[in-house]
Subunit: 350 residues, 2 copies
């Protein structure tokens, strides 16, 4: 099913690349580079939407509806728009160990200085993020569904963008120490910044497109928040405690960047923090120093704490789905389909 | 009429400020600061839409339609979204001699270093720009008009965003010397970056909302490009040759920032450039040096050239409107209303 999304994504980018030529070769080149990077994703969000949508529609059509593929595709564009602006804000030049769009543009810019090249690359990423954000909203506004569904899809994407931006804003405030870091704040931030658009949005869109009840949509919203938080916490654990040969992230990059994760927020409340603080967030943190911090994070109970948090999220998902199934709110097919997504999350290595 | 736009803008911002509280006090504070800055504009674009809309509707209702006020308001939000991202890209901290949103946020940030404060302020502006861009598109997607009109409004705003971003991208490329500066490139860039959203968009939206013919809309599109280019060229002239006590821009800021205007593009093709080049774009350009560059730009014919370009744009507007009026494409009321806007432009001091 994700092949249909990939085909549509390719088609949209081909159109945009050709359409951009009239505005000059540099602008067309920006579209082509963007297409290269945006098409490299795992399509987690569109897949989730289409899997759950198939499980929710009663007549079990073998092919997903055109509207579902269309909305799923535009969720991927929204994801990439957020990534671009996120990378500008975080100063990231790589993603999964390869140059991201900004890194590539900066490396190939004929700029006189490194600062010039970075400015050119980041400005381009801000502008392309604007175009993809617009394209994503347009996709929702033009979805080939009854007007009443389209109105709800628009409300959904608006609320999603607001929460994601609010989460990102809190994340930046945390990284600057403008908001004090504690576990509750970091968890709320993660739900807004990641869970809302990556999990609740595809699940709720699937429910809307499948004609599910509003209570089913609300349940899926909550399920999405728990799944998304579990996903983010898993990601945080992998970066610090994972096997770096198996997953795509740079070893210990969160520790080097001083990222305010739940692991760190917990550690801050323990006596181990005095030993961690001096080296946390050093851009040139050595592998040995990082490993020492990792061991401290393990000993102070931060790893255990976050593992148990993930367990709580998944328990909440099981409970919510069982209740919804018992109440006839969602089918057992749909519940099983979500649990499959959840279980893939649990064993995730990469 | 613009009072209605101002009221609606205030109402929208009040809603967003209150709604933001749930995401934390920093996020709500960002919305409040944004409201302060965004509400300070002259509402040139909404006024243009409403003036022309009133002239285009045959039944001459004393009050503009709710849809027209609504779309006009969302064009102002689009304008402010573009300003925010433009200010991030240009590194601007002031607008009309006062701190802009970024300048205010940076000045009040409890950041440890100036770099920290600027990063916080610029990240906030990127994120707020995303929210306002989304809000603007949502306004078009939800306009209370027949579906066929809404479809055309969506196409219009999509095309507008694409052209504006393409123009801004070219402007950044020009400032980095990635695209060579010549008069034709600079004029095309100005049309895309400024004229499309500031003039063609309000004029075309007015035509769409008034139920004008597609050929009338196309004429107004071309009229908007000429008017917008005249407006930008006038702005360029004011910054270099204007009376800085009367207009709001910083004296000679374009010369200090090395902005690739039509004045500069023309001067580059003259023998005077050798004398201008060494000091053009120096951030610490003195008033005396700036005045010397101004005199050289006058002597080499750049001022005269741009003045005549403005004349050409306004001539084109007169001709287009006369032809459209003669063909019964637009009413003489509408033509007169546009000419009034154009004449206000000609005598503009600020």
């Amino acid at each position: 099913m994700s092949t249909r999304v990939e085909q549509l994504l390719r088609k949209r980018f081909t159109f945009h690349c050709e359409n951009a030529e009239v505005y000059g070769s540099e602008f067309a080149a920006l579209w082509r580079s963007t297409a290269d990077h945006a098409l490299g994703g795992k399509l987690v969000r569109p897949r989730l939407l289409l899997d759950i949508h198939r499980a929710l529609v009663s007549d079990a059509a073998p092919e997903p509806s055109i509207a579902a593929v269309d909305v799923a595709t535009h969720i991927e564009l929204l994801h990439y728009a957020f990534l671009l602006h996120d990378d500008v804000i975080d100063g990231d030049l790589t993603r999964r160990k390869r140059p991201n769009l900004i890194g590539e543009l900066a490396a190939t810019a004929p700029g006189a200085t490194e600062e010039d090249s970075l400015h050119w690359a980041r400005s381009s990423a801000i502008l392309m993020g604007d175009l993809l954000l617009s394209a994503a909203i347009m996709g929702f506004a033009r979805a080939d569904v009854p007007q009443s569904v389209r109105v709800r899809l628009l409300d959904l994407v608006e609320q999603t963008i607001l929460e994601t931006v609010a989460g990102e804003h809190t994340d930046v405030a945390l990284s600057h120490g403008i908001i004090a870091s504690d576990v509750a704040t970091v968890l709320t931030m993660s739900v807004y910044k990641t869970a809302t658009y990556s999990f609740s949005l595809p699940l709720r869109a699937a429910a809307l497109l499948a004609g599910s009840s509003e209570s089913a949509e609300e349940t899926l919203n909550t399920v999405g928040r728990h799944l998304g938080l579990a996903y983010q916490l898993q990601d945080d654990l992998l970066c610090v405690f994972g096997d770096h040969r198996k997953h795509g992230k740079d070893a210990f990059s969160d520790l080097r960047e001083g990222k305010e994760t739940a692991i760190i927020a917990f550690a801050r409340s323990t006596s181990a923090w005095a030993q961690i603080a001096p080296r946390f967030g050093c851009p040139d943190l050595s592998l040995d120093d990082a490993a020492a911090i990792r061991d401290l994070l393990q000993e102070c109970g931060a790893e255990r704490f976050v593992v148990s948090l993930i367990g709580e999220q998944l328990d909440a998902v099981y409970t919510l789905l069982s209740e919804a199934e018992a109440a006839g709110e969602i089918s057992s097919d749909a519940a099983r389909s979500i649990l499959v997504s959840a279980s893939q999350l649990e064993g995730r290595q990469a």
